[in-house]
């Protein structure tokens, strides 16, 4: 028997769950299909940063739209998910890095963000825990954090409450064109007819895209992350070294969560994302340079995840180039958490209104028809040789 719905969302991560929620709020029938458990992959294990500073210039309209949704999260889903407007402190250790901060700041300001320039003395006066190495910083008060472990599940629950169907432990086996719409088949024997399909399957999204004759050079990797035992709450903003060596935040219950480059390889087939101990040690060393008072803090746990990356370090967002009614949102290159709700809002614009006011041309899947510009981040953020890890599914 065929179930009928307006939209099938493939993938129960942050993008998929927010898309289901915003669609059902617009009155559309939705079935979200997740091969495992909602929010268990990169959406659930990322760093939890809602960072506005230092984003790609072309991403600001999307990011700001997303931040407005984050700031409203409690009203939207009835759960705060530990959302806190913590601010974000970007630190530089020399003139070259300082110049980089300045460039980031000018871009952010051109989009209306308020960025404070912090000199060496003020840095230590306002945040007394900052070590000797950072020489200057920029601070954005609107940047925030939330708990990724909780968000996707809470958003899915809100969508379900409003009538969306959330089908966990359900693997899509086939998506077929059927008249003006689609037929979606699952491993547990369901057949679903729908008008539109959203491909938000993260590191596994190429399975759907390639069924419709388009692809992207996506590969899987993960962010190695570490957490200390709970300590007195001192580090209120999230803090990041602009060289990428470390990013850290302390949650009010006291644990310091930190992460750093290079990212780790992860395996989307075996569903494994081990953290090599040497990365843990590198992260520990880098954190001590920024916050030396943590030198005796104990690291109690580490983790990583399985994220989809693309060589230009930009995601795929938008309409399929081959198939009307198919929409892609994947390959967020480790920065999908902040933009997630905004991406969902854009997808809903495209599905319901056929167009969106938010500029997204930069993220078209079409760009991979030609050779794309390889981001300099690829060399910096990954173990050499970059992108040689497993191809994402």
């Amino acid at each position: 028997m065929t179930t009928k719905t307006r939209v099938v969302v493939v993938g129960g991560g942050l993008i998929g769950t927010w898309t289901a929620l915003l669609l059902v709020k617009r009155g559309l029938d939705v079935i979200l299909i997740e091969k495992g458990i909602v929010g268990a992959q990169s959406s659930g294990v990322n760093f939890g940063n809602l960072r506005l500073q230092g984003r790609h210039p072309g991403q600001y309209p999307l990011s700001l739209r997303s931040q407005a949704l984050w700031e409203n999260i409690e009203e939207l889903i009835g759960d705060r998910c530990e959302f806190e407007k913590t601010g974000h402190l970007y630190v530089a250790k020399n003139d070259a890095e300082h110049e980089k901060l300045e460039q980031h700041a000018r871009v952010a300001e051109s989009h209306g963000l308020v960025i404070e320039r912090i000199g060496r003395n003020e840095l230590r006066r306002r945040w007394s825990w900052v070590g000797e190495e950072p020489q200057s910083a920029t601070y954005s008060a609107r940047d925030a954090t939330a708990n990724p472990r909780l968000v996707s599940v809470a958003v899915a629950r809100a969508a379900q409450h409003l009538g969306a169907e959330i089908a966990e432990n359900t693997r899509v086996t086939e998506v077929l064109r059927s008249g003006e719409g689609f037929t979606v088949k699952t491993a547990n024997g369901r057949t679903i007819g729908c008008d539109a399909v959203v491909n938000a399957a993260g590191a596994w999204a190429l399975e759907v895209a390639e069924a419709f004759g388009e692809t992207a050079p996506m590969f899987a990797a993960g962010p190695p992350q570490f957490v200390t035992e709970p300590l007195a709450y001192r580090i209120t903003p999230s803090v990041q070294a602009v060289d990428g060596s470390v990013i850290a935040r302390q949650i009010p219950r006291g644990n310091v969560i930190f992460a750093g480059y290079p990212r780790t390889a992860s395996d989307p087939v075996l569903n494994r994302a081990p953290v090599p101990p040497v990365k843990t040690l590198n992260g520990m060393r880098s954190l001590m340079k920024i916050a030396p008072f943590l030198k005796s803090a104990q690291v109690i746990r580490v983790w990583s995840g399985i994220e989809g990356y693309l060589p230009d370090m930009l995601p795929v967002i938008g309409k399929s180039e081959t198939t009307p009614g198919l929409f892609h949102a994947f390959g967020f290159c480790g920065h999908g958490f902040q933009v997630g709700p905004g991406v969902a809002a854009v997808l809903v614009d495209l599905i319901v209104d056929g167009k969106t006011e938010t500029p997204i041309d930069l993220f078209s899947i079409n760009r991979f028809k030609n050779e794309v510009l390889v981001s300099d981040k690829l060399a910096k953020e990954f173990d050499a040789p970059a992108a040689s890890g497993s191809r994402a599914g």
Binding site: I37, V38, A40, G44, R149, L150, V153, A156, R157, Q160, H161, I166, E168, T228, E229, P274, V275, P276, P277, V278, T280, L281, N282, M284, R285, L287, M288, L294, K295, S296, A297, Q298, V299, I300, R301, V302, W303
Partner: protein, 455 residues
């Protein structure tokens, strides 16, 4: 020459080292503590001047033999005391010694990581003055301290009577030994226990000695809680006849037997199977302790078997390693060791039945009881998370949503109870709720440990 590393300086690790040395190898022996002997035969600090003969009782001879064996080996092995192995990745051990991180590459690895206490949450079990049974023994032997002046020994474990007797001999006042297993369950397990009559007799002797000393022994009791304002003041139990009793005390030694320390085995690539009798996930090993390519497990870290089985399985693992290097091994000796290990582990399976893990107690826990000590997560929070729409039904997901198992101990202590709570709340067999996964560090490591290392 191959780099052969043994982790663990208890009976299994020492015997493995001795077999390798006899074969002309010079293994590296990594020991987390400063003193060898493991938990059971740990040498007390010399300054304590403890009477080992009296403390070890009938096991004093074995204790002496093991320490003599190690003394003879010490110059023929590369011994690394006070060294924690916190991670294993691509045939390299990551260590912490004197606060500094280091590495030890290996070609073949014998893990003899021993066991730790298995505990079940109970109202009040996080009060100061509550210790695990094994912890109470370690404090006595390692530091020469008693956990209190008037102590209740509570739970279900062969260690219960041994620990109580050791404390009695050390001058502590024992308020009661409260055994949560009914005598009938012990009688039912007698057939398996007969596999090791000597060990069985020893257990009965401990019990008799406590009885002779006038220490009350309560069988088949159900613990109701440990109470006190900011320290233990008493234990509330319902005895075998249904009478509620309050036993005043200032310390509680509490436990339900042992569970293998398998974190390093997992990081080294061992696979796991669910064991019905212990109700634990145990590493898969062959009769000689092979758990994977160049990976061998011995002692209680592979399967609970006690000190004698640990020695024999340590020797077996070393023989297996040598055999895999292409060196023929004495088959009659191997056969004898296999038989010995099998007999003693069978006895322990009998003990596990006789001193049962309290499955019913997990189901009956009040919602207010803390399940995860590190993160202060209550049983009720776990149950509520599972019952919520789209709630988790697998232990790693329950951990992600509730924080149970996310703290300092990484689920080493709350893990078995968490499995029971998830199984009970979801109403599915325990083997279907999964197993908490491990990542390094297996124990906390300080940031400054990395400072001395070059990136």
């Amino acid at each position: 020459m191959r780099n052969v590393v043994i982790v663990g300086g208890g009976p299994a690790g020492i015997r493995a080292a001795s077999v390798l040395v006899e074969a002309g190898l010079k293994p590296i022996l990594v020991n987390e503590t400063r003193q060898v002997g493991g938990q059971g035969y740990r040498a007390p600090a010399k300054s304590l001047a403890l009477d080992i003969k009296s403390l070890m009782g009938s096991e004093a001879g074995k204790y002496q033999r093991l320490h003599s064996l190690f003394a003879a080996l010490q110059d023929r092995i590369d011994y690394r005391p006070g060294t924690l192995v916190w991670g294993i990745h691509e045939k390299v051990l990551h260590t912490l010694s004197d606060g500094i991180a280091g590495t030890i590459p290996y070609d073949a690895l014998i893990l003899a990581t021993g066991a730790t206490d298995r505990t079940m949450p109970l109202p009040g079990w996080t009060l100061p003055g509550v210790f695990t049974l094994g912890g109470a023994q370690v404090i006595l032997k390692d530091q020469g301290c008693l956990i209190g002046n008037r102590i209740v020994f509570l739970g279900s474990s062969p260690l219960l009577f041994l620990a109580a007797l050791q404390y009695h001999k050390s001058g502590a006042s024992i308020a009661a030994v409260v055994d949560t297993t009914p005598l009938s369950a012990k009688r039912a397990a007698l057939r398996d226990l007969a596999a090791s009559p000597r060990t069985l007799a020893r257990g009965l002797m401990y019990r008799a000695a406590l009885h002779m000393a006038g220490i009350p022994i309560i069988d088949g009791a159900t613990p109701r809680g440990i109470h006190g304002e900011d320290h233990v003041e008493g234990v509330r139990v319902t005895d075998g006849r249904g009478r509620e009793r309050l036993i005043p005390c200032d310390a509680v030694a509490y436990g339900y037997g042992l569970k293998p320390e398998t974190q390093l085995a997992e990081l080294a690539g061992a696979r796991f199977r669910f064991d019905d009798i212990f109700r634990l996930w145990l590493p898969e090993v062959d009769t000689d302790g092979r758990a994977g390519a160049e990976l061998y497990l011995a002692g209680d870290g592979a399967a609970i078997g006690g000190a004698d089985a640990a020695e024999a399985s340590g020797a077996l693992a070393a023989h297996a390693l040598l055999e895999d290097m292409g060196r023929p091994q004495p088959q009659p000796e191997l056969a004898r060791l296999r038989q010995e290990v099998e007999r003693l582990r069978k006895f322990q399976r009998g003990l596990a039945k006789a001193f049962a893990w309290p499955v019913a107690q997990a189901a009956a826990l009040s919602d207010e009881t803390i399940a995860c000590r590190c993160e202060a997560v209550t049983v009720g929070e776990i149950r509520a998370a599972i019952r919520a729409p789209l709630g988790p039904r697998e232990v790693n997901r329950v951990k992600a949503i509730t924080r149970c198992g996310m703290g300092r101990c990484q689920g080493r202590f709350c893990g078995p109870a968490l499995q029971e709570i998830v199984s009970g709340t979801c109403n599915v067999p325990i083997e279907e709720v999964g197993r908490l996964r491990m990542q390094a560090p297996v124990k906390p490591i300080p940031l400054h440990a990395a400072a001395e290392m070059e990136p």
